[in-house]
């Protein structure tokens, strides 16, 4: 009689355990909601200008470059040790979770694409995640070695010239 009771308790406990484990392995769920992602993006520390990007590249073995371009563009030329994960296939990449604890820099031809990937992965719980504020298309060996100060793209490079001839009739 007592044995039967113990078996029932153990069985129900294992059912609960199995349910919890199954749920925590659900990959298709965000860890951070929109509000927390918004707060995180306000820090602005994830946007790397060219000098900051070069600094990150020098810490190479500890930093992984994730190239979001198409496989074709990637094969044409890429950073050494860069990993090619096109944005469209980002969730299907088999060893995606391997990168969870390493420092990652997202690069692409389009800032829209790298920012989308940044928002997505940030909400999935990636912490040391950066994006390069520039396009790989415009990046050459010369620009990489050039050490001139580089301003971020979110700075207006033009000044508005008011037309003083406009008056109010």
């Amino acid at each position: 009689m007592q044995k039967k009771g113990i078996i029932i308790v153990i069985a129900s406990l294992s059912v609960i355990l199995a349910l919890v484990v199954l749920k925590s392995f659900n990959k298709d769920a965000f860890l951070l909601d929109a509000k927390r992602a918004h707060t995180k993006s306000l820090e602005q520390t994830h946007i790397l200008t060219l000098p900051q990007f070069k600094e990150k590249l020098q810490q190479m073995p500890n930093v992984t470059v994730i190239d979001l371009r198409s496989t074709k563009a990637f094969e044409h030329g890429h950073f050494s040790q860069a990993v090619n994960i096109p944005l469209a296939a980002i969730l299907q990449y088999p060893e995606f979770h391997v990168f969870k604890d390493s420092t990652l820099v997202l690069v692409s031809n389009s800032l829209i694409e790298s920012t989308q990937a940044w928002m997505l992965m940030t909400q999935m719980g990636y912490k040391n995640l950066f994006l390069f504020d520039g396009s790989l298309d415009l990046l050459s060996a010369e620009t990489l070695s050039d050490s001139t100060e580089h301003i971020g793209s979110e700075v207006l490079k033009y000044k508005f010239q008011a037309d003083s001839t406009i008056n109010l009739e």
Partner: protein, 203 residues
């Protein structure tokens, strides 16, 4: 003995309820990662500065231009007809009305594409449609619409139309932004009042 059984049943029941509760990790009504990636793949949430110039010149009233830059930058110059929602305040309740609707085309712009894309993702994952990113942002607007000049021997009819639209948009931009601050500000307040009236009527 009886009490023990009751307590065990109660504990197991509570455990089951806890295990079955939905993960409180994200808010309700939010897209899953896979659904968000599908939205990103469609790639239809982009608008070029030339398309925007055409919409402005044609006085399209179905667009809602949202300037995500700081109030100071907005005051300095902004694209005519835009409202200022600084990115830091995007999730504030006071601007909810601009975001939680599917009728008007929201066009987000910042100086580049990073801030506007971040805003796009946040609105997209709340499953609102009709949201667009201005490609290249304000820098591209300046480069193409404000400073773009035709260089070539012969102009085609298509190019002619393009440059005429750019010129009209450029004049509109300069005229609106050259007005004294007091008048521009009055205009904005009047617009907001109108908006409130409209909202009430439909409610």
């Amino acid at each position: 003995m009886n009490a023990r059984v009751l307590i065990s049943i109660w504990l197991v029941g509570m455990g089951l309820i806890l295990a079955l509760l939905p993960n409180n990790q994200t808010t309700m009504g939010q897209l899953k990662p896979s659904e968000l990636v599908e939205k990103m793949k469609q790639n239809d949430g982009l608008i070029s500065v030339d398309q925007l110039a055409r919409l402005l010149v044609n006085e399209d009233s179905t667009i809602l231009l949202i300037d995500l830059r700081s109030p100071d930058e907005y005051k300095e110059c902004n694209i005519p007809g835009s409202v200022n929602i600084p990115y830091a305040k995007l999730m504030d309740k006071e601007f909810g009305g601009y975001l939680e609707q599917n009728e008007m085309k929201r066009i987000f712009y910042s100086n580049s594409e990073i801030i506007s894309t971040q805003a796009w993702v946040l609105v997209a994952e709340m499953d609102y449609k009709n949201t667009f990113i201005l490609q290249g942002g304000m820098n591209s607007w300046y480069q193409t619409v404000m400073n773009g000049r035709f260089e070539g021997e012969r102009i085609t009819a298509r190019e002619n139309a393009l440059f005429e639209t750019r010129m009209k948009a450029r004049n509109l931009f300069i005229e609106t932004n050259s007005l004294p601050d007091s008048i521009r500000f009055q205009f904005k307040i009047a617009k907001q009042k109108n908006r409130k009236k409209l909202d009430g009527g439909c409610g």
